[in-house]
């Protein structure tokens, strides 16, 4: 049997995703051992899991090192990897938001400065509004940008809003719902379609039951 290679996003979401894969018949008990290994294999079932940084899942899948993986819609929209997006797993839900200091007033007469990790998403969003913007790409701690006057607003994912609140920021606009998606490499899908389809239909049923 051909191995099915699965890229899982490190963290809580990835653990939940693994549980669903296990129920779908792709069990790999060794993954539950508490150690620092990154690759786990179950030859009997023919599956190999590896933990990767959530934002890298799409790269492993696009380049074919992983046949399937689970990645957030935010990553897929930002990097537009050339992969199949097979299923909305309806988990890890959050929103792509514009946020700013509580006293922020939008001044359309000047260019808006936007700090974000999601440069392409932010550009596309403001282009659809016909708004001229200046983008500042940051890799983390986006919330402090408006406080320090680095930018007028930020574009970031918001789940509960706690981080924003603690930094005295408010959501100005929620413009894109995000959730985790099952993705597959386009070529590998052809050669392992039966197993991927089986996985997909079981995940779809589990998603519906939630």
């Amino acid at each position: 049997m051909k191995m099915l290679n699965v890229a899982l996003p490190k963290g809580r979401l990835g653990e939940k995703v693994y549980d669903m894969f296990e129920k779908a018949g792709f069990a790999c008990p060794s993954i539950k051992e508490n150690n620092r290994k990154l690759i786990f294999e179950n030859e009997q079932v023919g599956v190999r899991y590896f933990w990767v940084k959530p934002s890298d899942v799409a790269i492993y899948v696009e380049r074919g090192s992983a046949d399937v993986g689970v990645a957030g819609k935010d990553i897929l929209d930002e990097y537009k990897p050339d992969v199949y997006e097979l299923l909305d797993m309806k988990m890890g839900k959050c929103d792509m938001c514009v946020a700013a200091k509580a006293d922020f007033k939008d001044d359309r007469s000047r260019t808006l400065t936007v700090a974000t990790k999601f440069t392409n998403i932010a550009k596309a969003h403001y282009a659809s509004l016909g708004r001229d913007i200046d983008i500042i790409h940051l890799n983390g701690s986006i919330e402090i940008a408006p406080i320090l006057g680095l930018s007028d607003v930020i574009v970031d994912i918001v789940e509960t809003g706690t981080t924003l609140k603690e930094n005295n920021l408010v959501v100005v606009e929620r413009f894109m719902p995000i959730s985790a998606r099952l993705i597959a490499n386009k070529a590998n899908f052809k050669f392992k379609s039966e197993r991927i389809e089986k996985l997909m239909s079981s995940l779809a049923i589990q998603t519906e039951q939630k």
Binding site: E62, R63, G64, S65, D82, V83, Y84, E85, L86, L87, D88, A184, N185, K186, A187, N188, K190, F191, S193
Partner: protein, 370 residues
Amino acid sequence: MKEFNRVFNGTDRAVYQLRALYGDYGFKQYRMSKFEKYDLYAKNKDFLVSDNVITFTDTDGVLMALKPDVTLSIIKNGKDGAGVEKVYYNENVYRVSKGTRSFKEFMQVGLECFGDIDEYEISEVVFLAVKSLETVSKDYILDLSHLAVVKGVMENFNLSTDGVKKVTAYLAEKNAQGVFSACKEEGLSDNDAELVKKLVTVYGAPDKVINEFKALDLGKCANNAIIQLERIMVALSALGVSDKIRIDFSVVNDMNYYNGIVFNGFVSGIPTSIISGGQYDNLMAKFGRKDRAIGFAVYLDELEKLSSGANEFDVDVAVEYGSLSDVALINRKVKEITDGGESVFASKKIPEKIKYKRLIVLGGKDNENA
């Protein structure tokens, strides 16, 4: 062929085999210059894989480009009404590689068929695409689609231009939920949206897919296209290649240029498609030509990924002659080995990095190294 196998790496070998294959079916080689006026690409940017083109100013002040594509040049230089014309090419093209975002030279092989083409030519080109995949790997699949089915279904349900764009994008992603919700946004009923969704969810063995779609009423245009697809599949199964073909309507390529049959080819071990092509009457029309056309390109740059491990050894035999000073004797030994069809590396001391199957120490004892 043993000698050639040693000289050629996987990509070279594939190129010569493909050229021989296309020659067998009456395709003539089409050679062209490396440069083309930039104007040609500026007018047809959407057709190119990437927007970026290397440009330079020619001695007469005309802005020129290093070819990012071959098909456009062939169409531009062709004339209508010359009967059916069959050509193949083997050229280097220059475009931005997706991974590194920098310019790269790519070797591309492909073929084009112009003129008043009929179903025979269509089936022949699809057949050659399958055979091309076969020269690269035993484990391959050709995904085949008919754009008139996709277009017909969308026209049948009166999707807006924006809706067509959205549904097409979701279709290419195999995003069934996306297709469904985009159809709902367009005001389709649940039943109709489910019907459009079938373009994503129904794929695989040609018989199965064609029969399932024949049972649906998708409008005249789509129904006719399904019938044509069936006729082409009958022709291909007569050639014995239908078992490697899958019908998959998520192959949409660019509908501004392509119409009718389109396909992508995959081989196991390479993460992207290596063959892409189809009928492009729409592109011909943009050049003011009435002829119809079908063709495909084989992207060979990815092939290197398959050949790893093929050259485990640098040479078959290493001959170490140490302090032996009888050059004639060494020459004789080396000639004896090459005459026997094996490659040989002779030196007074064999460098450690040379990998050989067998070591012969002249003036000493032989040493097997497997």
